[in-house]
C-alpha cells in the first residue's frame, strides 16, 4: 500500500507541474501534431506511389507512426523530468520521504502514461477531424493503443534508467537518441516493401518495425504480426524494468 501511496504522490506532482505549466505541456502536444501534419500533409502523394498498399490512405498510415512516436517520446520527456529532479535535488527529497522507493519509478510511469493519454486524445481528435480513415473494430483499436502504451512504458523505463544513472539533464541526448534511431529506422514514410538498400535491411531486423506494422494492421482492421509486436514490446518493458530498477539502486548508492 505504501508503494502505491508513493507512486500516487510522485505521479500527482509530475502531472500537476505538466498541466499547470504551458511550457511543459505544449511541446508534448505540438510536436506530434507538427509531425502528423507535416508528414501526412506534405508527403500525402506517397499514396500514389506504386507499391503503396495501405488501404486507409496516407493520413491513417502516418497517424499510427506518429501515435507510437508520441508514446515513446512521452516516456523520454518524463525521463528528462526525472533527471531534472536529480539535478535540482528534489529527487533526494523523494528518496528520503518515500518509505518504499520502487513507488517512485511507478509514479513516474503513471505520470508518463497519463500525460501521453492526453497527447494521444488530442492527436486522435485532430486526425479524425482531418479525415483519417479507420478500418479496424473497437478491439483492433484497443490493440493499437495498448501497443502505444507498451511503447510509452518501455521508453519511460529506458529514460528512467539513464536519468538515475547520470542524474543530470545533460544525459538528455543519451535518453533521446537511441529512441529516435530505432523509431526512424522503422518504415516511417513508406511501407516496408518500398524501402531499399541498407535502410531496408535495418528495418527488417528492427523490432519497432513489427510494432509499427502491427499498429497499422490494427487501424486497418487486418492485424498482422500481432504476437511478434506484443512479444517484442513486452520484452522491451521487461528488460528496461530491470534497467530502471538497477538505475534506482545506483542512484541510492550514489546518495
Amino acid at each position: 500500500m505504501k508503494t502505491l501511496a508513493v507512486a500516487r504522490g510522485v505521479a500527482w506532482r509530475t502531472l500537476h507541474n505538466v498541466f499547470t505549466n504551458p511550457s511543459l505541456l505544449i511541446p508534448s502536444i505540438v510536436f506530434p501534431l507538427f509531425f502528423f501534419t507535416a508528414f501526412a500533409g506534405g508527403l500525402s502523394r506517397i499514396r500514389d506511389v506504386p507499391g503503396f498498399d495501405y488501404p486507409l490512405g496516407y493520413t491513417s498510415f502516418q497517424f499510427v507512426f506518429v501515435l507510437l512516436q508520441s508514446a515513446a517520446f512521452g516516456g523520454v520527456f518524463t525521463g528528462f523530468g526525472i533527471a531534472r529532479d536529480f539535478e535540482g535535488g528534489f529527487a533526494r527529497r523523494l528518496l528520503l520521504a518515500a518509505p518504499h522507493r520502487s513507488g517512485i519509478v511507478l509514479g513516474y510511469g503513471i505520470a508518463a502514461l497519463v500525460r501521453w493519454f492526453f497527447t494521444a486524445t488530442v492527436l486522435t481528435v485532430v486526425a479524425l477531424a482531418v479525415g483519417m480513415n479507420v478500418g479496424g473494430s473497437g478491439v483492433d483499436l484497443v490493440g493499437l493503443y495498448v501497443l502505444a502504451v507498451i511503447m510509452n512504458v518501455a521508453a519511460l523505463l529506458w529514460a528512467c534508467g539513464v536519468a538515475m544513472r547520470f542524474r543530470t539533464l545533460q544525459a538528455g541526448p543519451v535518453m533521446q537518441f537511441p529512441v529516435f534511431i530505432v523509431l526512424f529506422f522503422a518504415p516511417v514514410y513508406v511501407p516496408l516493401g518500398l524501402l531499399r538498400g541498407w535502410i531496408h535491411s535495418i528495418a527488417v531486423v528492427n523490432p519497432v518495425t513489427r510494432v509499427v506494422e502491427a499498429g497499422r494492421g490494427f487501424l486497418a482492421g487486418s492485424p498482422t504480426e500481432v504476437g511478434f509486436a506484443f512479444g517484442a514490446g513486452l520484452a522491451l518493458v521487461l528488460g528496461f524494468s530491470l534497467w530502471a530498477f538497477r538505475g534506482l539502486r545506483k542512484a541510492e548508492a550514489a546518495g
Partner: protein, 329 residues
Amino acid sequence: MDGPAIEAEGLVRVFKKTRAVDGIDLVVESGEIYGFLGPNGAGKSTTVHMLTTLLPPTAGTARVNGYDVVHQGPQVRSSIGAALQEAALDPLLTGREHLRLQASLQGMPHDIRRRRADELLHRVGLSEAGDRKVKTYSGGMKRRLDLALALVHSPRILFLDEPTTGLDIQSRTALWDEVGRLTRDDGVTVFLTTQYLEEADVLADRVGIIDHGHIVAEGTPDELKASVGRPTVEVVPLDAGEHERAAAIIARFGDPCGSEHGVAVRLRSSEADLAGIVRALDAENLKVEQLQLHQPSLDDVFLAKTGRSLEGAAEEEEGERGGLAMEPA
C-alpha cells in the same frame, strides 16, 4: 522505543580515495538534541546521509530508532524526518502542495493531509504564504517550509543538516525556538549538524565535534569547555599608563595571556577568583574602565583537539576542496 534513538559503530564512507567519514561511533539518547559540530567537509553531512539512508555506509553499522539503516531502510525512513542542507523544494509547487505531497508519500489519509498541512504552515509561520509558489519564497521561508516538511508524519527523530546556514538572526532564533519546543513538548530526538559554535552551544544537550571524518571530542557543551579551558579575565585600566601595574596584580591569579585593549590572565582555578581580582584591584587603588570574564568556547575545544580554530579550519577545508565536491552537500 527502548534503547538509544541513534547508534553508530565504526561508520565509514569512502568517496573514491577520500575517507569522508572514518570510523564514527556515536550514541544519541531518545529525546536529546545532539549537535554535530565541525567545519565544512568534516563529514557531518555524509554522516547524516548515511543515518537517513540516503547513502549506504562503506563499512560499519548504524541503527536509527532501532532499525538498521542498510537492511531496514523503509522502517528508518518512516520513523525519521530530515531537513537537509539545501532545501530541495519544487519551485512550481506551493508550500501547501509540498506538505500534502510529503504527507501523501508517507501514506497519510487524505483528510488528515489537509489538516496537517494547515497545522504545520501555522506552526512555522507560513499560513499566509502557504498558497504561494515556492519560487517566490525567501531563503528563510524555504528553511521553515523544509522543517515543516520534515515534521509532516510526526517523526520521533529529526535530522537537521545545517538548518540555519544563510539565515538572518531573527529566522535563526525562531528556528532554535521551534527545535527546542519539539524536544521539550513532543519528545523528539534531534540530530543537528552545524558549523556555528553558538548554535551547538545554545541548542545541543550534547555535542560531538567532528574533524576529517573523526569525532575528536564529545560531551555536553559545559563538559567540553571545562575539559580544555579555564576562564580568562581581562582588565582595561582607566589610565593607559597603569597597564603594567594591572598586569602585575592580576598575574597573582593566573597565567598572563593576550588581550587587545588591556591585560588578561587565564585563571588558575575557577571564575570564583574574579571576586579576588576585584578586591586586589581595589586594595591597590587601581581604577578600571572594564573588567570582563571570558568563558572558554567550543572553538577553544576544537582548537585544543585539532590544533586549529573552527573558523580557520572551515577556510582551510574550503581551500583543500578547491571547489570540488568531496562529499554530497
